[in-house]
């Protein structure tokens, strides 16, 4: 028996379950039903439709939400990673465990938790009322969606940055200090530049799942707020327009490949450093 034959069934299997469906998506996105039943003709109408006013707004909106979530994660996450790296070695591993624990909880439950807090009768409003502040309607807004993204994906930003900071050679820091750099200068000129690969990994790991998330905008954004994931879901489960859905999926994939490519160009090592599998 030749050992490599063990992989043949799987090669057939991935061709059928991965490649063929991908081709199906591509095919559906560029055809439309012809004049006769069961005939099809080439068409770019679905892509054009995805780029018309209303749908373009959804695509742009998804991008902006994902960008805002990523920025917020970076702003909150970088100092967190920095402070964790300054703790004693023993507390560090405990704090990292504490950081990773919520990631094991189902994303639906983590988003649901914020529903109970942000809703009109939720905790937040009773706290505000206690201090005599006006009631806020935060649930089912962009803010709630971004908050949900930050809550769900923040650890993905902190962990790679923390790892990158840890990897910074202590000798370099000492050398900078010996040569007269202040702690601030050491940070800006030595530690921060060396932690950039971690930042890039973090950005990728937050931005990509935010962009394509479908659960968080559905639960925290409510019915009226749509991101591209929700738009795709609608085409498949509601209107049954596979052609348009496929075109949207193609656009999403193209966008994601483009982002990964850009990140790779920006820092070729960031994706291969094994700092984690992309989280979705």
């Amino acid at each position: 028996m030749d050992t490599k034959k063990l992989s043949y069934p799987y090669l057939v299997w991935i061709t059928l379950t991965i490649l063929v469906p991908m081709l199906l998506i591509f095919l559906y996105s560029i055809i439309e039903p012809g004049p006769e039943p069961l005939t099809f003709q080439f068409s770019l109408a679905h892509y054009l439709r995805a780029l018309d006013g209303l749908h373009l707004q959804v695509l742009w909106g998804s991008f902006v939400i994902a960008l805002a979530s990523t920025a917020a994660c970076l702003l909150i996450g970088y100092p967190a990673a920095w402070f964790i790296s300054r703790l004693r070695a023993r507390s560090q591993s405990q704090v990292i465990l504490l950081l990773m624990m919520p990631m094991w909880i189902n994303m639906l439950l983590r988003s649901y938790a914020w529903m109970t807090i942000l809703s009109r009768n939720g905790i937040l409003n009773s706290v505000l009322a206690f201090f005599g502040l006006p009631e806020q309607n935060l649930l089912y807004t962009d803010f709630a969606v971004i908050l949900g993204m930050v809550y769900n994906f923040l650890p993905f930003m902190i962990l790679p940055i923390y790892t990158a900071i840890l990897k910074v050679d202590a000798n370099l820091v000492d050398a900078a200090r010996d040569l007269g750099a202040s702690p601030g200068e050491t940070f800006l000129k030595v530690i921060f530049p060396l932690s950039i690969p971690g930042i890039i990994t973090g950005i990728t790991m937050v931005f990509l799942p935010s962009m394509s998330s479908f659960v968080i905008p559905q639960l925290l954004g409510g019915g009226q707020f749509l991101m591209i994931g929700n738009l795709i879901e609608r085409q498949y489960l509601l209107t049954g327009n596979w052609h348009f859905g496929s075109a949207l999926a193609m656009l999403l994939m193209a966008f994601i490949l483009l982002s990964v490519w850009l990140m790779k160009r920006f820092d070729p090592k960031s994706m291969d450093s094994g700092e984690g599998v992309i989280p979705w």
């Binding site: 799987y10 379950t17 439950l109 109970t116 809550y151 394509s212 559905q218 498949y236």
Partner: protein, 254 residues
């Protein structure tokens, strides 16, 4: 000082919502804000809910079967892939990577289109197949690095000493890669338990899992039974993670 305060706030942000969720699962009234007294009403309601029980059973069943199947297929496939010619190896690994980097929703619709094209009925079988399908790549990714690191001479020595290729795999290779097989299986299991999007698109006929039930209930608004379910799930997860952590710490020490 700033350090402690900042990290304190961070963990307050991360844990407060979960704690609030858990506390109000024991609340007597429906309210998610006003504490009216301790009660187990919502747990009783949860345990009386037939749909929930079914969803729970399906979740576990799918997770166990898909983990077993995908670990088996993934391990042997990885052993085979590693022997392929570089060109085919690259093909296998690149396609294998697709479900890992593709957004879940794209994987979900691609499978849905496949099943529909094959005129399959949506239900337990399609859900199980989908889980097997998205788990295998992770098992392969967990096992392969370990395989590459193995000493090739050992398996060859076994064969020189008269072992069949099959015996060489089962008695020499597999024992050496056991920890990575276990890692792969664990990933497959947790991903299956946790999956929502792919199951949501690829189940039907009354077959659901816990995630789908939670989604359906959460969409209709806040329900204390969801809080009760969440509390149980969080308790189980945290216990398992803490025990696993203890074990790995003890192992590292010894």
């Amino acid at each position: 000082m700033v350090k402690k305060l900042y990290l304190g706030l961070l963990f307050f942000f991360l844990y407060a919502p979960i704690i609030v969720l858990m506390v109000f699962s024991f609340n007597e009234s429906r309210s998610g804000t006003v504490w009216t007294g301790f009660s187990l009403t919502w747990y009783e309601e949860l345990f009386r809910d037939r749909r929930m029980q079914d969803a729970f059973r399906y979740t576990l069943l799918v997770a166990v079967i898909s983990t077993a199947v995908s670990t088996f297929i993934g391990t042997f496939t990885a052993i085979g892939i590693q022997k392929l010619r570089p060109k085919w190896q690259a093909f296998a690994l690149n396609v294998n990577y697709f479900p890992v980097i593709n957004p879940e929703i794209v994987t979900a619709i691609s499978l849905m289109m496949l099943y529909r094209s094959l005129r399959l009925d949506f239900g337990f079988a399609t859900m199980l197949m989908s889980h097997i399908m998205f788990s295998i790549p992770y098992v392969i990714l967990a096992v392969l690095p370990r395989l590459y690191a193995l000493d090739k001479n050992l398996a060859e020595a076994a064969q020189d000493l008269g072992a069949t290729p099959w015996q060489a795999i089962v008695k020499v290779i597999i024992p050496q890669i056991r920890p990575s097989i276990f890692t792969g299986a664990l990933m497959a299991f947790t991903m299956s338990l946790d999956d929502f999007v792919i199951s949501f698109f690829n189940s039907g006929g009354g077959v659901t899992n816990l995630s789908i039930e939670i989604y359906a209930m959460a969409r209709r608004g806040i329900r204390p039974t969801v809080n009760a379910l969440a509390t149980l799930m969080v308790a189980v997860i945290f216990t398992v993670v803490l025990i696993a952590n203890r074990i790995s710490i003890r192992k590292a020490k010894s």
